[in-house]
Protein backbone atom coordinates (compact mmCIF):
# COMPACT_ATOMS: atom_id res chain seq x y z
CA UNK A 1 0.00 0.00 0.00
CA UNK A 2 1.24 3.50 -0.85
CA UNK A 3 2.33 5.30 2.29
CA UNK A 4 0.60 8.63 2.88
CA UNK A 5 1.58 10.72 5.89
CA UNK A 6 -0.03 13.94 7.04
CA UNK A 7 1.58 16.54 9.27
CA UNK A 8 -0.73 19.02 10.97
CA UNK A 9 0.72 22.18 12.48
CA UNK A 10 -1.46 24.68 14.31
CA UNK A 11 -0.67 28.25 13.25
CA UNK A 12 0.72 30.51 16.01
CA UNK A 13 -1.16 28.20 18.35
CA UNK A 14 -1.16 29.96 21.74
CA UNK A 15 -1.61 33.40 20.17
CA UNK A 16 -4.46 32.16 17.95
CA UNK A 17 -6.26 30.66 20.96
CA UNK A 18 -5.99 33.99 22.78
CA UNK A 19 -7.29 35.82 19.71
CA UNK A 20 -10.27 33.45 19.63
CA UNK A 21 -10.93 34.13 23.32
CA UNK A 22 -10.77 37.88 23.06
CA UNK A 23 -12.28 39.40 19.92
CA UNK A 24 -10.44 42.66 20.69
CA UNK A 25 -7.13 40.89 20.01
CA UNK A 26 -8.07 39.60 16.56
CA UNK A 27 -6.02 41.09 13.75
CA UNK A 28 -3.65 42.74 16.22
CA UNK A 29 0.00 42.06 17.06
CA UNK A 30 0.02 40.01 20.26
CA UNK A 31 2.60 37.94 22.09
CA UNK A 32 1.85 35.21 24.61
CA UNK A 33 4.20 35.40 27.57
CA UNK A 34 4.61 33.60 30.88
CA UNK A 35 3.41 34.95 34.18
CA UNK A 36 6.87 35.20 35.76
CA UNK A 37 8.92 38.34 36.03
CA UNK A 38 11.60 37.02 33.69
CA UNK A 39 9.30 35.89 31.01
CA UNK A 40 9.84 35.52 27.30
CA UNK A 41 7.60 35.38 24.24
CA UNK A 42 6.35 31.81 23.83
CA UNK A 43 4.31 32.52 20.68
CA UNK A 44 3.38 35.62 18.76
CA UNK A 45 0.57 36.28 16.30
CA UNK A 46 1.32 36.61 12.60
CA UNK A 47 0.59 40.33 12.93
CA UNK A 48 3.44 40.58 15.48
CA UNK A 49 5.75 38.35 13.45
CA UNK A 50 5.45 40.82 10.58
CA UNK A 51 7.33 43.26 12.84
CA UNK A 52 10.06 40.73 13.57
CA UNK A 53 8.78 39.51 16.94
CA UNK A 54 10.15 36.03 17.56
CA UNK A 55 9.69 33.26 20.11
CA UNK A 56 12.29 33.53 22.85
CA UNK A 57 12.51 37.34 22.81
CA UNK A 58 12.11 39.05 26.15
CA UNK A 59 9.33 41.58 26.49
CA UNK A 60 11.71 44.51 26.03
CA UNK A 61 13.01 43.12 22.74
CA UNK A 62 9.48 42.36 21.54
CA UNK A 63 8.27 45.86 22.42
CA UNK A 64 11.25 47.35 20.63
CA UNK A 65 10.47 45.34 17.50
CA UNK A 66 6.77 46.14 17.67
CA UNK A 67 5.79 49.09 19.91
CA UNK A 68 2.08 48.30 19.39
CA UNK A 69 2.43 44.76 20.69
CA UNK A 70 -0.07 43.48 23.25
CA UNK A 71 1.28 41.02 25.79
CA UNK A 72 -1.09 38.29 26.96
CA UNK A 73 -0.19 36.03 29.87
CA UNK A 74 -0.66 32.49 28.60
CA UNK A 75 -3.02 29.95 30.12
CA UNK A 76 -1.51 26.54 29.53
CA UNK A 77 -4.63 24.66 30.61
CA UNK A 78 -6.52 26.34 27.79
CA UNK A 79 -3.89 25.24 25.27
CA UNK A 80 -3.66 21.68 26.61
CA UNK A 81 -7.42 21.18 26.41
CA UNK A 82 -7.50 22.65 22.90
CA UNK A 83 -4.69 20.32 21.87
CA UNK A 84 -6.58 17.31 23.22
CA UNK A 85 -9.73 18.36 21.31
CA UNK A 86 -7.72 18.73 18.10
CA UNK A 87 -6.20 15.27 18.57
CA UNK A 88 -9.73 13.88 19.02
CA UNK A 89 -10.68 15.43 15.68
CA UNK A 90 -7.65 13.85 14.03
CA UNK A 91 -8.49 10.43 15.48
CA UNK A 92 -11.71 10.62 13.49
CA UNK A 93 -9.62 10.32 10.32
CA UNK A 94 -7.08 7.67 11.29
CA UNK A 95 -6.28 5.55 14.34
CA UNK A 96 -2.61 6.26 13.64
CA UNK A 97 -2.22 9.72 15.20
CA UNK A 98 1.07 10.72 16.77
CA UNK A 99 0.98 13.75 19.06
CA UNK A 100 4.34 15.25 18.20
CA UNK A 101 3.98 18.32 20.40
CA UNK A 102 1.17 20.40 21.83
CA UNK A 103 0.46 21.94 18.41
CA UNK A 104 1.72 19.36 15.92
CA UNK A 105 0.67 15.86 14.99
CA UNK A 106 1.44 13.23 12.39
CA UNK A 107 -1.25 10.99 10.90
CA UNK A 108 -0.74 7.90 8.84
CA UNK A 109 -3.63 8.18 6.39
CA UNK A 110 -2.49 5.35 4.11
CA UNK A 111 -5.48 3.47 2.76
CA UNK A 112 -8.11 5.95 3.94
CA UNK A 113 -8.92 7.28 0.44
CA UNK A 114 -12.01 5.09 0.14
CA UNK A 115 -13.41 6.63 3.30
CA UNK A 116 -12.40 10.26 3.05
CA UNK A 117 -11.22 10.84 -0.53
CA UNK A 118 -7.74 11.76 -1.75
CA UNK A 119 -5.08 13.50 0.35
CA UNK A 120 -6.28 17.01 -0.48
CA UNK A 121 -9.88 16.09 0.37
CA UNK A 122 -8.86 14.63 3.72
CA UNK A 123 -6.74 17.69 4.49
CA UNK A 124 -9.68 19.94 3.63
CA UNK A 125 -11.97 17.94 5.93
CA UNK A 126 -9.41 18.01 8.76
CA UNK A 127 -9.03 21.78 8.45
CA UNK A 128 -12.79 22.29 8.46
CA UNK A 129 -13.36 20.04 11.49
CA UNK A 130 -10.60 21.75 13.46
CA UNK A 131 -12.06 25.13 12.55
CA UNK A 132 -15.55 24.00 13.59
CA UNK A 133 -14.29 22.57 16.88
CA UNK A 134 -11.87 25.32 17.90
CA UNK A 135 -12.14 28.21 15.44
CA UNK A 136 -8.43 27.84 14.70
CA UNK A 137 -6.41 27.55 11.51
CA UNK A 138 -3.76 24.95 10.79
CA UNK A 139 -1.29 24.14 8.06
CA UNK A 140 -1.17 20.66 6.61
CA UNK A 141 1.54 18.85 4.71
CA UNK A 142 1.01 15.52 3.02
CA UNK A 143 3.84 13.38 1.68
CA UNK A 144 5.10 9.80 1.48
CA UNK A 145 6.90 10.09 4.85
CA UNK A 146 7.13 12.14 8.04
CA UNK A 147 10.23 14.08 6.98
CA UNK A 148 8.60 15.36 3.81
CA UNK A 149 5.18 15.86 5.41
CA UNK A 150 6.76 18.13 8.02
CA UNK A 151 8.64 19.98 5.29
CA UNK A 152 5.38 20.38 3.33
CA UNK A 153 3.43 21.83 6.27
CA UNK A 154 6.20 24.37 6.88
CA UNK A 155 6.10 25.53 3.24
CA UNK A 156 2.85 27.48 3.46
CA UNK A 157 1.65 29.26 6.58
CA UNK A 158 -0.83 30.18 7.82
CA UNK A 159 -3.71 27.99 6.65
CA UNK A 160 -1.51 26.14 4.16
CA UNK A 161 -1.98 22.86 2.38
CA UNK A 162 0.94 21.36 0.48
CA UNK A 163 1.01 17.88 -1.01
CA UNK A 164 4.37 16.43 -2.00
CA UNK A 165 4.09 13.45 -4.31
CA UNK A 166 6.82 10.88 -5.02
CA UNK A 167 7.52 12.54 -8.35
CA UNK A 168 8.06 15.96 -6.77
CA UNK A 169 10.74 14.91 -4.29
CA UNK A 170 13.87 15.12 -6.42
CA UNK A 171 13.05 18.54 -7.87
CA UNK A 172 11.99 19.91 -4.50
CA UNK A 173 15.13 18.84 -2.68
CA UNK A 174 17.62 19.78 -5.38
CA UNK A 175 18.31 23.32 -4.15
CA UNK A 176 16.64 23.13 -0.77
CA UNK A 177 18.98 24.30 2.04
CA UNK A 178 19.71 21.39 4.41
CA UNK A 179 18.61 23.52 7.37
CA UNK A 180 15.04 23.39 6.08
CA UNK A 181 14.84 19.69 6.87
CA UNK A 182 13.25 18.56 10.11
CA UNK A 183 16.02 17.34 12.40
CA UNK A 184 18.83 19.43 10.93
CA UNK A 185 19.33 22.32 13.34
CA UNK A 186 21.61 25.37 13.15
CA UNK A 187 24.68 23.57 14.55
CA UNK A 188 24.39 20.63 12.19
CA UNK A 189 23.75 23.03 9.30
CA UNK A 190 26.95 24.84 10.23
CA UNK A 191 28.86 21.58 10.48
CA UNK A 192 27.58 20.49 7.07
CA UNK A 193 28.47 23.88 5.58
CA UNK A 194 32.02 23.42 6.85
CA UNK A 195 32.36 20.41 4.54
CA UNK A 196 30.73 22.27 1.66
CA UNK A 197 27.21 20.85 2.00
CA UNK A 198 24.56 23.52 1.63
CA UNK A 199 21.70 21.81 -0.17
CA UNK A 200 19.85 18.52 0.19
CA UNK A 201 21.14 17.28 -3.17
CA UNK A 202 24.72 17.93 -2.03
CA UNK A 203 24.00 15.99 1.15
CA UNK A 204 22.49 13.11 -0.82
CA UNK A 205 25.55 12.99 -3.09
CA UNK A 206 27.96 12.32 -0.20
CA UNK A 207 28.88 8.74 0.60
CA UNK A 208 27.30 7.17 3.66
CA UNK A 209 30.71 6.12 4.94
CA UNK A 210 32.03 9.69 4.81
CA UNK A 211 28.98 10.96 6.67
CA UNK A 212 29.32 8.16 9.21
CA UNK A 213 32.97 9.09 9.79
CA UNK A 214 32.04 12.73 10.26
CA UNK A 215 28.77 12.48 12.15
CA UNK A 216 28.79 9.02 13.71
CA UNK A 217 25.62 6.96 13.92
CA UNK A 218 23.42 9.61 12.31
CA UNK A 219 25.62 9.74 9.19
CA UNK A 220 23.61 7.20 7.24
CA UNK A 221 20.35 8.81 8.25
CA UNK A 222 21.63 12.17 7.04
CA UNK A 223 22.23 10.76 3.58
CA UNK A 224 18.71 9.36 3.48
CA UNK A 225 17.35 12.72 4.63
CA UNK A 226 19.16 14.40 1.76
CA UNK A 227 17.32 12.01 -0.57
CA UNK A 228 13.98 12.70 1.14
CA UNK A 229 13.80 9.19 2.56
CA UNK A 230 12.45 8.56 6.05
CA UNK A 231 11.27 5.18 7.27
CA UNK A 232 10.24 6.31 10.76
CA UNK A 233 6.72 5.18 11.60
CA UNK A 234 3.85 7.23 12.94
CA UNK A 235 3.69 6.14 16.58
CA UNK A 236 0.09 6.33 17.75
CA UNK A 237 -0.75 7.74 21.15
CA UNK A 238 -0.43 5.16 23.89
CA UNK A 239 2.28 3.28 21.95
CA UNK A 240 5.08 5.74 22.68
CA UNK A 241 8.34 4.26 23.91
CA UNK A 242 8.74 4.05 27.69
CA UNK A 243 9.88 7.26 29.31
CA UNK A 244 13.62 7.20 29.89
CA UNK A 245 13.45 9.82 32.59
CA UNK A 246 11.03 11.92 34.60
CA UNK A 247 12.10 15.46 35.38
CA UNK A 248 11.09 19.00 36.13
CA UNK A 249 13.03 22.23 35.95
CA UNK A 250 12.16 25.70 37.08
CA UNK A 251 13.48 29.13 36.15
CA UNK A 252 13.32 30.94 39.47
CA UNK A 253 11.45 34.24 39.78
CA UNK A 254 14.76 35.80 40.87
CA UNK A 255 18.32 34.47 41.08
CA UNK A 256 18.92 32.91 44.48
CA UNK A 257 22.13 32.24 46.33
CA UNK A 258 20.75 31.45 49.78
CA UNK A 259 21.33 27.74 50.35
CA UNK A 260 18.13 27.45 52.36
CA UNK A 261 16.07 28.87 49.47
CA UNK A 262 17.78 26.57 46.99
CA UNK A 263 17.00 23.58 49.17
CA UNK A 264 13.35 24.58 49.35
CA UNK A 265 13.11 24.73 45.57
CA UNK A 266 14.80 21.35 45.35
CA UNK A 267 12.21 19.87 47.70
CA UNK A 268 9.42 21.32 45.54
CA UNK A 269 11.00 19.86 42.40
CA UNK A 270 11.59 16.50 44.13
CA UNK A 271 7.91 16.35 45.02
CA UNK A 272 6.86 17.15 41.45
CA UNK A 273 9.19 14.50 40.04
CA UNK A 274 8.31 11.91 42.68
CA UNK A 275 4.60 12.55 42.35
CA UNK A 276 4.61 12.08 38.58
CA UNK A 277 6.78 8.96 38.81
CA UNK A 278 4.54 7.45 41.51
CA UNK A 279 1.44 8.14 39.44
CA UNK A 280 2.82 5.90 36.70
CA UNK A 281 4.45 3.42 39.07
CA UNK A 282 7.92 4.31 37.83
CA UNK A 283 11.15 4.48 39.78
CA UNK A 284 14.58 5.74 38.85
CA UNK A 285 17.99 4.69 40.08
CA UNK A 286 19.82 7.82 38.94
CA UNK A 287 19.02 11.28 40.23
CA UNK A 288 20.29 14.29 38.29
CA UNK A 289 20.50 17.86 39.44
CA UNK A 290 20.73 20.65 36.86
CA UNK A 291 21.85 24.13 37.76
CA UNK A 292 21.93 27.22 35.56
CA UNK A 293 23.77 30.35 36.54
CA UNK A 294 22.57 33.84 35.58
CA UNK A 295 25.08 33.86 32.70
CA UNK A 296 23.23 30.79 31.34
CA UNK A 297 26.12 28.44 32.06
CA UNK A 298 24.30 25.18 32.78
CA UNK A 299 25.59 21.93 34.19
CA UNK A 300 24.17 18.67 35.51
CA UNK A 301 25.49 16.22 38.05
CA UNK A 302 24.21 12.74 38.64
CA UNK A 303 24.08 10.33 41.53
CA UNK A 304 23.41 6.63 41.22
CA UNK A 305 21.51 5.14 44.12
CA UNK A 306 21.68 1.55 45.38
CA UNK A 307 17.96 1.11 44.68
CA UNK A 308 15.42 2.72 42.38
CA UNK A 309 13.32 5.44 44.01
CA UNK A 310 10.25 7.60 43.53
CA UNK A 311 9.93 8.74 47.14
CA UNK A 312 10.13 12.53 47.30
CA UNK A 313 12.47 12.38 50.29
CA UNK A 314 14.88 9.96 48.63
CA UNK A 315 15.02 12.11 45.48
CA UNK A 316 15.49 15.20 47.60
CA UNK A 317 18.24 13.59 49.67
CA UNK A 318 20.12 12.57 46.53
CA UNK A 319 19.73 16.05 45.02
CA UNK A 320 20.96 17.60 48.26
CA UNK A 321 24.02 15.41 48.39
CA UNK A 322 24.84 16.49 44.82
CA UNK A 323 24.33 20.13 45.78
CA UNK A 324 26.46 19.74 48.90
CA UNK A 325 29.33 18.44 46.80
CA UNK A 326 29.19 21.53 44.56
CA UNK A 327 30.72 24.88 45.28
CA UNK A 328 28.36 27.27 43.56
CA UNK A 329 30.29 30.14 42.02
CA UNK A 330 27.30 32.46 41.90
CA UNK A 331 23.54 32.65 42.45
CA UNK A 332 21.37 30.23 40.48
CA UNK A 333 18.81 31.05 37.82
CA UNK A 334 17.35 27.62 37.13
CA UNK A 335 17.14 24.34 39.00
CA UNK A 336 16.13 20.99 37.61
CA UNK A 337 15.79 17.48 38.97
CA UNK A 338 15.23 14.29 37.04
CA UNK A 339 15.32 10.58 37.70
CA UNK A 340 16.49 8.11 35.07
CA UNK A 341 17.53 4.47 34.65
CA UNK A 342 13.85 3.74 35.11
CA UNK A 343 12.10 0.61 36.23
CA UNK A 344 8.42 -0.10 36.50
CA UNK A 345 6.61 -1.64 39.43
CA UNK A 346 6.94 -1.56 43.19
CA UNK A 347 10.13 -3.60 43.40
CA UNK A 348 11.17 -5.26 46.63
CA UNK A 349 8.88 -4.93 49.62
CA UNK A 350 10.12 -2.96 52.60
CA UNK A 351 11.71 -4.88 55.42
CA UNK A 352 11.30 -2.30 58.14
CA UNK A 353 8.16 -0.80 59.57
CA UNK A 354 9.44 2.77 59.25
CA UNK A 355 9.86 2.43 55.47
CA UNK A 356 6.39 0.96 55.12
CA UNK A 357 4.94 3.87 57.06
CA UNK A 358 6.78 6.35 54.85
CA UNK A 359 5.19 4.73 51.82
CA UNK A 360 1.77 4.90 53.41
CA UNK A 361 2.19 8.62 54.09
CA UNK A 362 3.15 9.23 50.47
CA UNK A 363 0.19 7.19 49.25
CA UNK A 364 -2.15 9.19 51.46
CA UNK A 365 -0.66 12.48 50.25
CA UNK A 366 -0.95 11.39 46.63
CA UNK A 367 -4.57 10.33 47.12
CA UNK A 368 -5.52 13.70 48.61
CA UNK A 369 -3.65 15.62 45.89
CA UNK A 370 -5.22 13.52 43.14
CA UNK A 371 -8.66 14.37 44.44
CA UNK A 372 -8.24 18.01 45.45
CA UNK A 373 -5.38 19.17 43.23
CA UNK A 374 -1.59 19.24 43.37
CA UNK A 375 0.11 20.60 46.49
CA UNK A 376 -3.14 20.52 48.51
CA UNK A 377 -1.16 18.48 51.02
CA UNK A 378 2.52 19.17 50.90
CA UNK A 379 5.71 19.34 52.93
CA UNK A 380 5.85 21.71 55.89
CA UNK A 381 8.96 23.38 54.47
CA UNK A 382 6.96 24.56 51.47
CA UNK A 383 4.01 25.91 53.41
CA UNK A 384 5.31 29.42 54.06
CA UNK A 385 5.14 30.31 50.37
CA UNK A 386 1.93 28.76 49.18
CA UNK A 387 1.70 31.30 46.37
CA UNK A 388 5.10 30.37 45.00
CA UNK A 389 5.50 29.16 41.45
CA UNK A 390 5.21 25.42 40.97
CA UNK A 391 7.22 25.41 37.80
CA UNK A 392 8.10 27.91 35.14
CA UNK A 393 4.73 27.29 33.54
CA UNK A 394 6.31 26.45 30.20
CA UNK A 395 4.99 23.50 28.26
CA UNK A 396 7.90 21.24 27.46
CA UNK A 397 8.30 20.10 23.84
CA UNK A 398 8.04 16.55 25.17
CA UNK A 399 4.53 17.22 26.55
CA UNK A 400 1.99 14.61 25.48
CA UNK A 401 -1.76 14.50 26.12
CA UNK A 402 -1.58 11.23 28.04
CA UNK A 403 0.91 9.08 29.93
CA UNK A 404 3.96 9.99 31.98
CA UNK A 405 4.84 12.82 29.57
CA UNK A 406 1.60 14.55 30.47
CA UNK A 407 2.51 17.35 32.85
CA UNK A 408 -0.08 19.56 34.45
CA UNK A 409 1.53 22.92 34.11
CA UNK A 410 -0.16 26.03 35.41
Amino acid sequence: MRRVIMHMDMNAFFASVEQRCDPALRGRPIAVIGSGKRTIVTTSSYEARAFGVKTGMNTYEAKKACPEIIFVVGDNKKYMDTSVRILEVLKGFSPMVEAYSIDEAFLDISGTEALFGGPSDIAGSVKKKIMDETGLLCSIGIAPNKLLAKLASDMRKPDGLVVIGEADVEGLLRDLPVGELWGIGPRLTEHLASIGVMTCSELAALSASLLRDRFGVIGERLKLMGQGIDYSPVVPMGNEPEAKSVGHSMTLPADISDRHEIKKELLRLSEMVGRRARRYDLKGRKVSLTIRYPDFYTFSRQKTLPVSVNDTRAIYAAALSILDAERLRTAVRLLGISISDMSCGSGQMHLFDGDRKRDEVLKAMDAVNSHFGEFTVTWGTLLDDSEADTGAGVISPSWRPTGVRHVNVR
Binding site: C21, D22, P23, A24, K77, K78, S370, H371
Partner: protein, 78 residues
Protein backbone atom coordinates in the same frame (compact mmCIF):
# COMPACT_ATOMS: atom_id res chain seq x y z
CA UNK B 1 -4.96 42.96 31.14
CA UNK B 2 -6.92 40.35 33.04
CA UNK B 3 -7.82 41.18 36.63
CA UNK B 4 -8.26 38.16 38.88
CA UNK B 5 -11.66 38.13 40.59
CA UNK B 6 -12.15 34.53 41.83
CA UNK B 7 -15.60 35.16 43.26
CA UNK B 8 -18.58 32.84 43.35
CA UNK B 9 -21.34 34.14 41.09
CA UNK B 10 -24.91 33.17 40.26
CA UNK B 11 -25.30 32.00 36.69
CA UNK B 12 -28.21 31.25 34.39
CA UNK B 13 -27.00 28.59 31.95
CA UNK B 14 -28.53 26.99 28.88
CA UNK B 15 -28.14 23.26 28.39
CA UNK B 16 -28.48 22.51 24.70
CA UNK B 17 -25.87 20.33 22.99
CA UNK B 18 -23.54 21.24 25.81
CA UNK B 19 -23.76 24.00 28.34
CA UNK B 20 -23.29 27.73 28.02
CA UNK B 21 -23.77 30.58 30.47
CA UNK B 22 -26.46 33.07 29.41
CA UNK B 23 -26.40 35.53 32.32
CA UNK B 24 -24.46 36.02 35.51
CA UNK B 25 -24.92 38.15 38.59
CA UNK B 26 -21.88 39.80 40.11
CA UNK B 27 -21.89 42.48 42.80
CA UNK B 28 -25.65 42.82 42.49
CA UNK B 29 -25.54 43.52 38.76
CA UNK B 30 -26.76 41.15 36.05
CA UNK B 31 -24.56 40.74 32.99
CA UNK B 32 -26.04 39.23 29.82
CA UNK B 33 -23.66 37.02 27.88
CA UNK B 34 -23.63 38.21 24.31
CA UNK B 35 -21.11 35.67 23.07
CA UNK B 36 -19.19 32.71 24.42
CA UNK B 37 -15.90 33.36 22.66
CA UNK B 38 -14.07 30.22 23.80
CA UNK B 39 -14.47 27.27 26.10
CA UNK B 40 -12.12 24.71 27.55
CA UNK B 41 -11.82 22.24 30.39
CA UNK B 42 -9.22 21.68 33.06
CA UNK B 43 -8.70 19.22 35.87
CA UNK B 44 -8.78 20.44 39.46
CA UNK B 45 -7.85 17.31 41.32
CA UNK B 46 -10.40 14.76 40.17
CA UNK B 47 -12.95 17.37 39.07
CA UNK B 48 -13.25 18.43 35.46
CA UNK B 49 -13.88 22.16 35.48
CA UNK B 50 -15.53 23.91 32.51
CA UNK B 51 -14.19 27.32 31.57
CA UNK B 52 -15.95 29.92 29.43
CA UNK B 53 -14.56 33.09 28.00
CA UNK B 54 -17.60 35.32 27.57
CA UNK B 55 -18.37 38.88 26.59
CA UNK B 56 -21.31 41.14 27.38
CA UNK B 57 -20.32 43.34 24.46
CA UNK B 58 -18.29 45.66 26.66
CA UNK B 59 -15.84 43.50 28.60
CA UNK B 60 -14.43 40.00 28.51
CA UNK B 61 -14.99 37.65 31.46
CA UNK B 62 -13.83 34.18 32.37
CA UNK B 63 -16.38 32.01 34.14
CA UNK B 64 -15.73 28.51 35.42
CA UNK B 65 -18.12 25.80 36.51
CA UNK B 66 -17.17 22.90 38.73
CA UNK B 67 -19.78 20.14 38.27
CA UNK B 68 -18.63 18.35 41.41
CA UNK B 69 -19.53 21.34 43.61
CA UNK B 70 -22.14 23.01 41.32
CA UNK B 71 -20.27 26.26 41.83
CA UNK B 72 -19.72 28.97 39.21
CA UNK B 73 -16.77 31.28 39.70
CA UNK B 74 -16.01 34.55 37.98
CA UNK B 75 -12.30 33.93 37.50
CA UNK B 76 -11.36 37.24 35.96
CA UNK B 77 -12.33 40.22 33.92
CA UNK B 78 -10.44 41.89 31.09
Amino acid sequence: MTIDIKEIVTVVAVFDKGMRPAKFKWNGRVYSVKEVTYEWKSMQGSAQVHHFSVTDGASLYELSYNPSTFVWILEGVE
